[in-house]
Amino acid sequence: MEERELRALVGQVKAGTLSRRRFVRTMVGLGLTAPMAAQMLASAGIAQAQAKWTFTPTKRGGGGLVKALWWQAPTLLNPHFANGTKDQDACRIFYEPLASFDPDGNLVPVLAAEAPSLQNGQVAKDGMSVTWKLKKNVAWHDGKPFTADDVVFTWEYVMDPATAAVTIGPYQNIVKIDKIDSHTVKIAFKSPTPFWSAAFCGSATGPIIPKHLFQAFKGDKSREAPTNLKPVGTGPFKFLDFKPGDIVRGEINPNYHIPNRPFFDQVEMKGGGDAVGAARAVIQTGEYDFAWNMQVEDEQLKRFEQGGKGRVEITPGGNIEHIQVNTTDPWTEVDGERSSAKTKHPTLSDPAVRQALNLLVDRASVQEEIYGRTGIATANFVNAPSKFVSKNTKFEFNVDKANQILESAGWKKGSDGIRAKDGKKLKFVYQTSINGPRQKTQQIVKQACAKAGIELELKAVTANIFFASDPANPDTYSHFYTDLQMYTTTMTQPDPQRFMDQFTSWEVSAKDNKFALTNKTRWRNEEYDKLWRAAEHEMDPVKRAALFIKMNDLVIQNVVVIPVVARPAVAAVSNRLRDATQSGWDSNFWALAYWSRA
């Protein structure tokens, strides 16, 4: 879709002929994120709707204990050392960012007094700075006041390389932060930054930590801070107890800065076990009120729901399960490494083969039979509800067509039923991590490919090795020493920029960078690189959106990856729990202060 058409859609929302929600979904269907869409609307001056809660309490507390179940247990409570969403969620009980992203991608102020925008002048027109006004009368759990000093300190803490904070990404672009007064900060960027809300927003990278407790533990002393195990934040609950790998407990914060919140007196977050057991505990027995990340087959979830005690909440996000197609040769070693950028894949370089593969993935069956509501068939790399069909990309499952394409490209079936050309056979090794639905998907693809004369050898690697960053281990997904591999890229950042850099040529994963870079398919394309660079500094959200859409189309048309299903966030919620709204762009606990029980 062109920029022109995007602007027309924005105009329709402004005029009231297109609902905001529909617009956001359409943008997501084109490969953008909801926060980006929200930004596009905000730049046109369209006010965002206020968050609505079904229950408005008249006093704080009195709700008792709320129990939540994660099937990976949190292991530490410093948000800047978080190892995955389990830790981020545990920290979110106690710590808060300046603003959160709601399910539609809007910026909802938490510790900020209001969301900055072009209209209120807090976002600079040249994109070089943004000013945040902080909420007044907010206190840390130990009583000390929350001020601008804490915001500045958080930035310094994260930026210190000796701290080895994992949240450093969005803060690297900041040149300095000026403290204008006790409750105002001005952030100055190194270059024009279209997505200025990357810093300090969202639970993944945004939580603010108290200066007075962490001051003495910056840099290489950071791991010794006692506050790492006994967090002191501004959140709705105060720290009560923590057993790493097992359970986190919090009790109500009587001085919480939002009146009459939270509803519950205590929160408990237990970890460990498996996803199916967690689903049962919430939906079947009602032992728990909430469970995270239901990687469970929808068939089973539906059966559990028949008990009437709980239900499944599905929230669209940016995650996508996709198959990567190797552009290099994983079976030839060059200078001690396989899948070297110096090689070309003998058979997968033929566009006909790629197109055929794209036609052999039965996404509809994968969705219907395996993922159900938890996986939505898609053609785009970044999200697509099946209702919207982009004219550039659509998905199709057609074994006959695949056969035709291969036949006319000169790949003839041999006596063993496998197609070959010039002595090269269409035999591929297809790897993924150990995971029930993934193995089933592999089998479905294998069967379809067999019908087209392509033989797939399936390989499954245990998750913690597949996703390891160990440069010596050949089974990792960064090494990509097979022809095809499949996994879900998580989009933890609402801004697609970081997500799309995995197709740029300077991010090619190789031995000399210890396979730590993000471009695993090793695809290089000049036009893509140009578009990406342009999007980095394009301040107009609509223009920027058009650039991202073009990038997505390039990737899909060249079949660099084959998207399978979009993976929304799936949570199990007790039927008695109210307002436990989930956001695909923020933590499961982003609205914990507003949860209540009927």
């Binding site: 199916v276 087959e297 068939e299 089973q300 059966r303 069956s365 219907e368 039979e369 150990i434 029930g436 193995q439 089933k440 592999q442 089998q443 479905i444 294998k446 069967q447 399936l458 390989k459 499954a460 690697v461 245990t462 090795i465 281990n473």
Partner: protein, 313 residues
């Protein structure tokens, strides 16, 4: 006292050892065949083995034919054992996977009890420094954490074995070696304990005083009486090995996840127990039958080799 001695084992053995060997083997075979349960066990095991070897040639439904319309159906004429959640025929999968499960189970068990019995016997009989060193090695193996060891061994040897034996056989060798290699310690300790106490018993002393050399003492007198725990360990090890293989595949270290070994089918079926119990019932029963048959065969063997046969009371 002397009268009692002459009626004891030593007395009988002293007579028996004088006879030629061939009729002893025949005698052993005859005693085995007379043991009713051992025969039942042999029949069952033979049945299972024939089924998995010949079955796939007779029942020709493919094991990975995905048919969503037939998923999770109970036993029927077209699918005698029902189907799983991808609509694949369970009978075909059980027959195919049974080859691997039975082979892994029995091979691993044999490795475990062979190594275990050897180590335990040598240790218990020789005593002294030999006993000490062997037992400390046993302790070390007992202290090793199974999982990291497994991961390491697979990581180090998988490619080499793949080249040597081919992908499937290579993994087979690896798994059998690893599972058997981590279960022999129990057998060793048990056998050693038996040897320690039996070494000093009267009938062994009698044999010694009659001039029997150590090897003879061990094989003819002590070993048959230590077989009790070994047989029990053997039967337990078969089940444990079949299940361990499935745990390994769950961790990515065993056979690829689309190979339907019995333990794997059981694992895949566990989350659908309330909805499709047939899926779990059949592999569970198969493992149970294997264990049962091995146990009865073991009982029969022990009674057959027992020089003072005591059958029932």
């Amino acid at each position: 006292m002397a009268r009692v001695v002459s009626e004891t084992v030593a007395g009988k053995l002293a007579v028996a050892t004088a006879q030629p060997r061939t009729s002893l083997w025949k005698e052993t075979g005859r005693r085995f065949r007379r043991h009713r349960l051992a025969m039942v066990g042999s029949v069952i095991l033979l049945g299972l083995v024939i089924a998995v070897l010949v079955g796939p040639l007779v029942w020709r439904l493919p094991i990975n034919d995905i048919d969503f319309k037939a998923k999770l159906k109970g036993p029927s004429w077209s699918h005698p054992l029902g189907t799983d959640d991808l609509g694949q025929d369970l009978l075909a999968r059980m027959l195919y996977g049974g080859r691997i499960s039975l082979a892994v189970g029995i091979a691993a068990m044999l490795i475990a009890i062979t190594i275990g019995t050897a180590v335990g016997a040598i240790s218990g009989f020789a005593g002294g420094a030999v006993d000490h060193v062997l037992m400390r090695i046993t302790d070390m193996f007992l202290a090793l954490p199974g999982l990291p060891l497994l991961l390491l061994i697979v990581y180090l040897f998988r490619d080499a074995l793949r080249k040597m034996f081919g992908p499937e056989a290579g993994i087979f060798v690896l798994i059998v070696a690893v599972i058997g290699g981590l279960r022999w310690m129990q057998v060793a300790r048990l056998v050693r304990a038996q040897f320690l106490s039996l070494r000093e018993k009267e009938f062994v002393e009698s044999a010694r005083s009659l001039g029997a050399r150590p090897f003879r003492q061990v094989v003819r007198h002590i070993l048959p009486n230590s077989m009790g725990p070994v047989i029990v360990a053997g039967t337990i090890d078969v089940a444990a090995a079949i299940i361990a293989e499935s745990t390994l595949s769950f961790l990515g270290l065993g056979f690829p996840p689309d190979i339907p070994t019995w333990g794997r089918i059981l694992f895949d079926a566990k989350d659908n127990l309330d909805f499709a119990p047939h899926w779990a019932l059949f592999p569970g029963t198969a493992i149970f039958l294997t264990v049962l048959s091995i146990n009865y065969i073991g009982d029969g063997l022990r009674d057959a080799f027992d020089p003072r046969k005591v059958l029932g009371r």
